[in-house]
Symmetry: C2
Subunit: 307 residues, 2 copies
């Protein structure tokens, strides 16, 4: 294995992996090396460009903490996250579609009762969300658990304040709750707003150089689990948002767009009175039954939250 050149080096690298015990790892690395090398060959990558890439990845690594995941942002903005979501969530017609997970999920968000307050002090216009979780036949899934998370009126998640050293590090605008015996849920929160993904780092510089904006249309995140069903990670997007057709992370599905209905000041769904306008949202989630002993579903279920 000497004198490798641009024509034979790819085969030589792949041959070095013949001894890997894990056949799937060997398969992944074979394809990765082929595509990585083809990229360099196809564009005639210069040494200066290679080094710019090394620096870019180094900068991403250095800004990434347990509160900020810039590698996920990179994957999101290059469409890789949505592609992987699509590859792993080929659901039957009628199921609620999945979309990107995003970098802002947190394990262990506060558990609230039905009707509880998700916002927990996060600023925004009042919004009352209700809905149901059903199976493909429309029957309630009473065992379902929902995790919901969202940005506040200024477009920030609680973890972004924590990362910046601001705020009191309490969970805000995120919660976990269970549906009732009829598969129904309701909670109080704030209206979802469009926001830019964090763009003060390397990924933001990349978007700027590419002439792209960093905005995502307003949405609520949901992760829904229930025994016997595939975990659903999705958003509900706000109808009318100006970024529905140019989401910076390519996540919009028309089936996930819903109306946030505006109501004048008055009695709210929880029986209280609002002195300002408030919003209501109603959404039905349809879960995909888990095929028995499916490798793909098991792998999807095993995915760990990134932060």
């Amino acid at each position: 294995m000497q004198n490798l050149n641009e024509d034979n080096i790819t085969r030589a690298v792949i041959a070095m992996h013949a001894g890997a015990e894990n056949a799937r790892l060997r398969e992944l690395m074979t394809s990765l090396v082929q595509h990585l090398h083809s990229f360099a060959r196809d564009v005639g990558l210069t040494e200066a460009e290679w080094f710019t890439g090394i620096r870019f990845l180094t900068d991403i690594g250095h800004i990434t903490t347990d509160k900020r995941q810039e590698f996920i942002l990179l994957s999101d903005t290059l469409g890789l996250s949505m592609l992987v979501t699509a590859l792993n969530n080929r659901k039957p017609q009628g199921c609620t579609e999945a979309t990107v997970f995003g970098p802002f999920h947190v394990e262990g968000s506060p558990r609230i009762p039905l009707g509880g307050d998700v916002a927990n002090g996060a600023q925004g216009e009042p919004c009352f969300v209700r809905g149901s979780v059903v199976d493909l036949q429309g029957r309630p899934v009473p065992g379902a658990e929902l995790q919901v998370w969202q940005a506040d009126a200024t477009g920030h998640y609680d973890v972004q304040y924590a990362a910046a050293g601001e705020g009191d590090h309490e969970h805000r605008a995120r919660a976990t709750l269970n549906v009732d015996a009829l598969g129904k849920f309701h909670f109080k929160t704030i209206r979802a707003e469009a926001y830019p993904i964090p763009h003060d780092g390397p990924v933001g510089k990349m978007l700027e150089a590419l002439g792209r904006h960093p905005w995502r249309p307003a949405h609520l995140h949901f992760m829904i689990t229930a025994p016997g069903f595939e975990r659903l990670i999705t958003h509900v997007f706000r109808n009318g948002d100006q970024y529905l057709d140019s989401d910076a992370v390519f996540g919009v599905r028309s089936s996930l767009i819903a109306d946030w209905i505006e109501h004048p000041p008055g009695v709210t769904p929880d029986g209280a009175r609002s002195a300002i306008p408030f919003y209501t949202l109603d959404f039905r989630f349809v879960l995909n039954p888990l095929p028995a002993a499916s490798g793909r579903a098991a792998a999807a279920g095993a995915r760990t939250a990134p932060v």
Copy 2:
């Protein structure tokens, strides 16, 4: 741009980059996105595998400092560095071949006179190196400057001691010197030894999972610059080394293998006496004339050292 699926998302992402002002950046990102997406599609990347990749890159980012460049190690071990070297150093027959730069170069190494000591206290068996720098017609290049760097007898570069918090952070086993009016040079150093690349981090774990060893055959690094010539970044490899055919970074070229000749204790080339055996090495470097106003050569020349 809604409802993107595994078939149309790649086109949608590329279309988002149509507004990039820099045409070369657009070209690079188009190819990168195509290959990145093809990789995910070809292997049917699962969400768990995607997240393993995110964690792997995060770990690489976090171990990388100004003393340790794990992203370059990754590029080296996947053969990307050698491929980029090959793509950018298509030299005429007769020129000394280039090989990988590696992560251990340091700007500003100590300037020594001809005959000076490169080791500067680094441990190893004495070795006397001499040679010349010439053009394709064999004429001396008296304006040439050499940077030389190498590992010590234990297989470590000075920066690795500094990264580990050991040593006194002085330059060891690296120096900068100029050839004489006849294009000749000589210096004293220690014998180059085979060594494993740093494998206590994520790249080491990857190599282990792939059933690969981390060793590089013994070599001296050279970077040679001279007005009117392409910068040459290369190694001289020690003949007989057991890793010449399985270099962990794919850098060996047979034209760069030379004999380290062993001598019994006695008078050394500098007129002193050695009580132990010592080695001599002789190597001739042939530089490639710089084509006037070549974009590729200019780009190669603009490459900045990584640490």
